[in-house]
Each structure stands twice: as C-alpha cells, then as structure tokens.
Amino acid sequence: MSELQYVGKSVLRKDGPQKVTGKATYTVDVRLPGMLVGRILRSPHPHARILNIDTSAAERVPGVKAVITGRDSLGIHHAFVESARRYPPDQLALAIDKVRFIGEEVAAVAAVDSYAAEEALDLIRVEYEPLPAVFDPIEAMQPDAPEIHPTNPKVREPFRNIGGKTESAWGDVELGFSQSDYVAEDRFESHLRTHGYLEPQATVASYEPGGTLNVWTSSQGTFIKRAKLARTLDLPLSAIRVHKAYVGGAFGGKIDLFSHEYCAALLSMKASRAVKIVASREEIFTAYRHGQPLIIELKTGVKSDGTIMAQQIKVINNSGAYRGSGIVVVFLSWGFAMLPYRLLNLKYEGYAVYTNNPIRAPQRGHGAPQMRFAIESQLDMIAEELKLDPIEIRLKNARQPHEQLPNGDNVHNCGLPDCIRDAADHTQFLQKYGHGRKGASRNGRFRRGIGMGVSAYFGGALIYPSSSSVIVKMNDDGTVTMLTGALDIGQGAETILSQIVAEELKVPIDEVHVIAADTETTPVDIGAWISGGAYVSGNAAREAASQVRRKLLDVAGDELEANVADLVVEDKSIFVSGSPDSRLTYEQLVAACIRKNRGDPVIGEGHWRTMRDEPNPPSLATAKGRWSENYAFDAQVAEVEVDTETGLVRLLRAVTAHDCGFPINPLLVEGQIDGQVSMALGHALMEEVLMKDGRTINPSWLDYHMPTIHNMAVSEYIDVVTESYESGRPYRTKEVGEGYVSGILAAIANAIYDAIGVRLYTTPFTPEKILKGLAEHRSLSHDHR
C-alpha cells in the first residue's frame, strides 16, 4: 500500500469548492422556465374511507393549471420491497379508497404560485368516513384490532396487521438454555426518531409531450427512483430521466418512491409545464417517514466463563400504515443480532406490524442501533452477574477472522478482536470501569462512566438495482472522464471513486472529471442506501479504469515495441522500465490507439455485484441464503457524565475502533464517524418524535432535539486495517456510512450504568428516566442495608 498515490490519502472533496461557494445545485435550487408550484392535500384522519373528492372549485382558481387525485392516477401500487407472492406492493402515490395515516396524500395541485396552489387546496372537498384506528403495535396485533391491511398470508400466527415476519433458527435453543449456567431475559424498546436531513424533500418534474419525463429529486439513488416512477406512471424506463442533483442529507429517509415525486410528474404531464414540489419542514416532521421503532425481547443463555450458548429474540416493529421497509428491518435486525458474536443456537422472530401511523423508513443503521443497544446492554448485565468484565466477555465471543456464519457467509478478514482490544487500551477502559458507581465520586453530583458497544455492518447487499457499473473514458488530452451512477449524498462518493480511477491510471485527481447519477447518461448504480459505495461502486470503477489501463498498456507495448510486463505507468504516461526519458504520454497513446485500432478512443467499462456467484438475494422471511461477502466490525467506547441532580447526560468522548478494511479517504471516514457519533448521542439522549393518536406533537427543530454545536462530543478513531488496496486487483473494503451509530448508542447505555448504576431499557435516556432510576436505586440500596 505504500506506493499508492491517491487511494488511502485524505484527498479533498471534489465537490467541496462548489459547496463552500454556494454554487452546488440541490433539487430545491433547480428552476425551469414556466415552472409551476405544487402542493399536496393530506388526510386529517388516521383511518378513513374516502367517499368522494370534489376538485371542481379548486380547478377554477385563477393560476391553477392542474389538479389530481387518486382517480387520475393509474392506481398502480408500489412498495419499498416488492415481490409477486409474499410482498405484493401495497402503497398508492395518491389514496383512492382509503387513507391509513394522518398526512396521507389525497390530492395535489400545480399553480403559478404558492398562493394560488394553497387557495386551491383549501377548496378541495373530501368526504371521509372515519374508521377505527390503532397506533400501538401490540394492540394492532390483537384479533379484535381494526384491520389496516390483511395479515400477510404466509404468517401462520393468528395476529392481525402483520406486514411480514422474519423467522430464523439454528441449533437448539432449549438445549442451549439448559446447558447454560445463567440465563438473562430482558425487554428493550427503541423509540421513534427521525432523520433530520437539512435539505427538505423536493422534486422537479418536467414532461415533454411525446418525449421524456425529466426529473430532479432529492434522493439516495436515481435508478430506483426511475424504476418506481416508471412502474407507477406506466412509462418505459427509457422515457424517464432522473438527473443528478446534489443532496442535502438523507440518512435513509429518501430511498423509495414518495408521493410528491409521483405527483410532480403527473401534474407536469397534465399541465405540460415543469412542476416543483418542496415539502415544508413541518410536513417532513409529520407526514414523511421516520425511523423504525423496535421492541426487542431478548433471552440469552451463557456459560459461567461468558460463552454465549443460546439466544432467543423477538422483535416487533411499528412500521406504520404500509409495509414499507418494515419487513427489511426485522430481517436486518436478525443479521445484526448474529453477526458480531459466535451464536450456536438461535431462535429469531421479527414482526413488522401495521399501525395507523405515517410509514416508517430505514434510518442510519436500520435495525443495528436498536438491536445492538439490546444485546450489548444485556451482555454487560450478564458480565456483571458472572463477575466478568465487559472486555473479556466480548473477546470471548467475538468472531474471529474467516469464521463461517450460519447463513453460509464468511466474515473474511474480521478485525473485531483487535477493535475490542484497541478501544479498551486506548481508553484505559478497565482502569476507569466501575469507578463511577464505586469510586470516590460515587456520591458526587457529577458522575462519570465508561461503556463499550460492539456492532457489525455489511457493505453492499443484493436489492434492486443490485449492481454498479462505471465507464471510464480517456480524453484526447490525457485527462479522464468517469461516468458513474453513484450519487453523492454527502458521504463523498464522487471523491473516492475519483481516487480509485486516479490510482489505477496515475492521473491527478483534478484531471478525473466526474459525471454522475444521471439515469440517461451514466450506467446503473446500487444507490447510496445499501452501504456499497466503497465496495461495489468502487470495484466497478477500479475495473473500468483497469480496462483503460490495459488498453493503454497494449498500445504502448506496440508503440514502444516492448512486453507489457516491462512497462511502467506513471504520471499520465507509460515507459519501458529503465527508460523514463522515452515515455509516451496518454495524449500520444490515445491518438495512436485511434489511428491503429479502428478509431477506438480508449473507453473502459467495469461492473461489480456483491456475491457474484449468488443468483438470488436472501429470503427476508426465512433469512436463508447468502447475504453479503463484506462485513465490517467495530467496537466503540463512550465516556459520559451524568448530572445526578438534573438527570442530564453528556457524551464526553466517543472512541470508534473500526475494522474498516482500509480507508480509501481517511478524512472522509473520520467525517462519517463523527456524524454517526452525533446521531447516536441524539438517539440516546435527546431526540424523540412525540406522537399522540397518529399526530406528531413536536414537528419542528425547536422541539425535536437534534444535536446542536453545544452537544458535540470528542470523537476519536482507531483504524483496524484488515485489507489492502493493490492496483489492478479487486479489493474488499468495508462500509463506514452506517455501522457506527449502533456501537455508540449501546456504549452510552452501558456507560450510564457504569456511572450511576441505573440500567435503562428504553431510549431515549431522558433526564426524567435518569432521575427515576436514581431514586429507585437509592431506595433499593436503602433496603439492602
């Protein structure tokens, strides 16, 4: 790795200058001639039949150019995950017969300005017949609950409102428990939180009659948006072009088809003008997708030396009014349960339950934060019971390199044991652990604690579009243009792909021009929501650049009358080893190629798919089948300070020891870690979407407490490098965009216990819960005297 010039270096972001000068164009900044403003009418009822919609008065408002309801759509359903038999799509872009959550989209208008649009919205008359509604998932599962959708026919239990179930088992849990020296049984709840991306949801759609539907939309991948728009509008894929726009954050909340995207398109088709719809921040806090809340019942049996013998897990997900990604999160939670530690006996059940709440979505970690919080909290409790320390019990069970997973995957170069050891050493964990509760400051007002959380994530998995392709083409002057479908949502996709191309071709990064994320001009990409940017799109870029490199070497070999094996590639030129003065520049080589190879200007293509030998993705329902060939592991430590009088908790320091493979861009990796530490502390200590009967009580950043600069924590990084990059060879590097929320969340929970002896089973760890726990603790210790 030492001779690498670009990969592994903290190269500055390619899109940085655009962003710091305000020139970056986000969807909200796109303006087209004659563009209309769109607005959406939303249901005030959590569950109701639509009896009638009268739009006649709205249509007559001066300046209104189009009004649509569900009846104007083709009534084609869509969903986050669709399969013909098990998961037929259940969402409509505009409701037709029924609404199932407050805020559900019922109609849309396009007008010359927002005043006309809102006037029109006020004049749309909808007749509803309210139906009984249910908001709590346990209640929704009861046989007498109002039916939101029929339970998935593959689910055998007599529960109502089940969107889907994941069931997985191996070994024999009962035997495992009977062989255990200690069995712990606990229930954990992770609450409703939300993404809080700064750029609102927005779409501009412009339909040219007989031609193309041009779309700009704030998303996490243009190809999946094109696919879903094509299906619901019944247009061929080639008739829709989703253009690149910068994205102001997404974190899982902008993946699948949103109603406003469909509405902008359909309104544009009706009005024959461009239409822009931008969601207000309140709409985003109330009617858009929040993260998945999970209830986790966890039973774990261990030997007295800490070896995990068996685990029985039940997960209940409150997925909201439609199936959405609910069935994915209960599958992924299984994965996040079985990845980090050896687990010989498992019984897992996860239910995605319908309720009359807005649809929930993946949120950074997608099940890992919730599951690791549960497992890591319980593991610490088990360790204390067995008089083991939190580090040794984790080392005892941690996956070792090249371990086979029960689903057939392999962890390959797993660096988890090193992560655990390094994080513990760096923070002097064992010297500090236990002092908050027992040490000199145990009666002080401010008490400190330390805790660890271990987690794992996957890099790239099979879900549409499943693969990435990249095209690299030489320009006459020796510079390079890369065409990639990858979308930069802040994580630095364009930069790291440029680094890889620059490395393969020995071209300065500034001379790698990027054209990205345009469904018409760039090849397909898996999207920025499956943690595959570095591994899948990166390898595709490498392959494309390698192909270009081979072509250039072949031409050079010809021109220089030498064997390719004797050639050196350096600084946009190629020469015979030992004769750098007789080098041929890329400019010369490209010209030669065109002359001699029937006009071939030197273009390379590269493709990559995770698990190339596996035709199918795993079953969400049974978890059977290969899932990923690229697992990332981490151990994170949190140091907290608890104010025992106010109950406020501060995250003082977060240390992330991560098995990142190798960092393609260390500076970008650090930024990802920092952001996830911030999200974890928000999740743990301050963020909560408060809802009552399907309505959001706190739809603003004043009352949804996303971290401000006051709340930042020191964030330190330990790279456990387990892979390497070698020019011309496929590499495995791991994901860094999603896996580091979970460990910190779990570590904070454990650190709070270390500080004050209060074990919290539900997030967020509010001041009230802390004070309540302290009061109970005091009365308990009173009793023990």
């Binding site: 005030p44 805020g103 005043y115 309505r695 009580i697 706190n698 603003s700 009352d703 006051h710 009230e768």
Partner: protein, 332 residues
Amino acid sequence: MRLPRFQPLQPKSIEEAAEFLGKYGGVAEIMAGGTDLFPRIKYGVASPEVVITLRKLSRESQIAIQDGFLSIDSVTTLSQVIRSELVREHAPLLADAALAVGSHQIRNMGTLGGNLCLESRCTYYNQSHAFQFVEPCFKRGGEICYHVPKGKRCWAVFAGDTVPALMCLGAEVEIKTATDSRRVSIDQLYTGNPLRPLAISPTEIVSKILLPKPSARTGWAFAKFSLRGGLEFAGLSVAVLLEMMDDGLTCTGGRMVVGSVSSQPLRAKKAEKALPGKQLSNDLFYEIAEMISEDVKPFSHHGYSASYLKKCLKIQVKDALTLASQRVPQSP
C-alpha cells in the same frame, strides 16, 4: 413557506408606529425582529392584515442614562443589549439573560421589546393545522385543549428569557399610544392569562424599558435550563438578584423570578421574604430552593413534565444563588 399576503408599514419612529396602531389597531401586528411573529403567521395562528415592521428602527436604537434610569429603546436588538457597555455595567443580569435567547442570528434580529411581548407558547399551537389538530384549541379561539384533553383551560407558557431578569432589576416599561404614554412596573405587564399574556391593548406599543439605578453591592445570576443548552426555549429559567450589606456577606433583600413554567414569570415573593438579614450560605440556598420549589406550580410543557420541572427548579435556583453569591463584590 411563503408569508401570506399582508400590507407592511414601515414607521420612521416608535411614535409613528403608535399612530399606525391607532389607525389599524385590531387588524395590525407589530413586528420587531420577526422571530416570533413570522413563524406564527406562517403557521396560520396569526393573520394580521397589516404588519407594522420596526426592523429598520433597530439601527438607530438608543441605550442611555436618562433621569437616573438606564433607558433602553424597545427596538434595541438583543445583540445590542449584550454588547452595550452601559448594560454590562449597570445590569449585567440583563445581558446574561439576553445572551441565552435563541441563537446568534435571532439575537441580531430579535429586540428587547419583542422578547417582552412574546406570545405564549405550546407545541400544539405553534405549528400548522392543515391536517393535524385541525379543530381550534382555546388559544386559537376554540373550546378544547390538546395538551390536557378534557381540560377546561389553556396551558400555554410565557417563555421570554429577558423578563425574569428585568423583573429582578425592578424594570419599568413605557407604553405609548398615538396620543398617550404610560409607565408601569414590568410586573404589571403580564396577566397570567395564557390566552392573552400581555396587559397591552391593540393600540399600544412598548417604547422603552427603564432600569433603576442598581444597589451598590449585588450578586446576580441567570440560569436557563433546556435539554440541549442552546437554540430552544427554556424548560425553565431562573433570575436572581441579591442585595448585600457592605460586609458582602449579609443579604438585605433580593428578588427571584422563575420563568417559562407558567403563563407569566413568577416572582418568588414568599422566598424573597426569607432573605433579609441572612448570611449567604449553602444551607440558605437549599432552604430558599426548597421554598420556591414548594411554592411554584410549573405547567408541564414542551415535553417536560411538571414533576420533573419542580425537581429541576430546585437545582436551578440553588445553582443560581450559588453563582450570584460568588459575584458579590467583596469588601475591599
């Protein structure tokens, strides 16, 4: 989010603003910094036909000593208050409270007068009602309360941070109409009625805030408690002012005000009576904090429960008194 249509008027002075109010009284609203009125207009809970904007007046606002009082024009921005040497010298408690408001940008726009006249707040009220909480609550002219279902009254909270400080400082407020002027103690500005928290009529405008000369030897502190420690409104706030004898140890009296827990800031009058003649000590602070916590009945609001606020209040008062005592200038 666009502002709905209205007619803005740009008065060239407070007096002219008062004249405009005289003319448009019931259908006009005053906009000082815009940080309170505009969000409410965007949410649709305020819909004035006329907006009298004082933004340009802030550029010429005055802070000066006048007849022994520190006189602050109501259109002075909070940032100007914080930076003013006169304020730092004569009323540092006010500067601290102003520094706690919102964010730097909000402090650059928001005015002292505007902070005094903040509309009372509730999460169910301060949002749009297109499809959520559609039926109007008490504060929106309706007959229900969402915060306390089946409740018979409104529970909106007055959250202006500078007011507890101004009450401790014994501030007076000059209020003008087109033809008249009156001056009241700031305590009299608040009704305790969440539906109409201010004792100001639609044709009146606050023109000046006047602070009397401070006592020779005081200790003071302002504490604002919130989950994040910045940006948001207070869960609760506490302002204390201790007046001391020359020995710097014995208290002659003081004022303590709790803000953001009720429909008006609350003077802790009973606890204030316990101050004269006492030596400052931790025990005294605990005793006072206990008294105030007993006396004050906080509303639950913005996600904080009443019982939590009661507990937290004790700690904030104790901390504030401790800090105030540390600031008492010691005898030479």
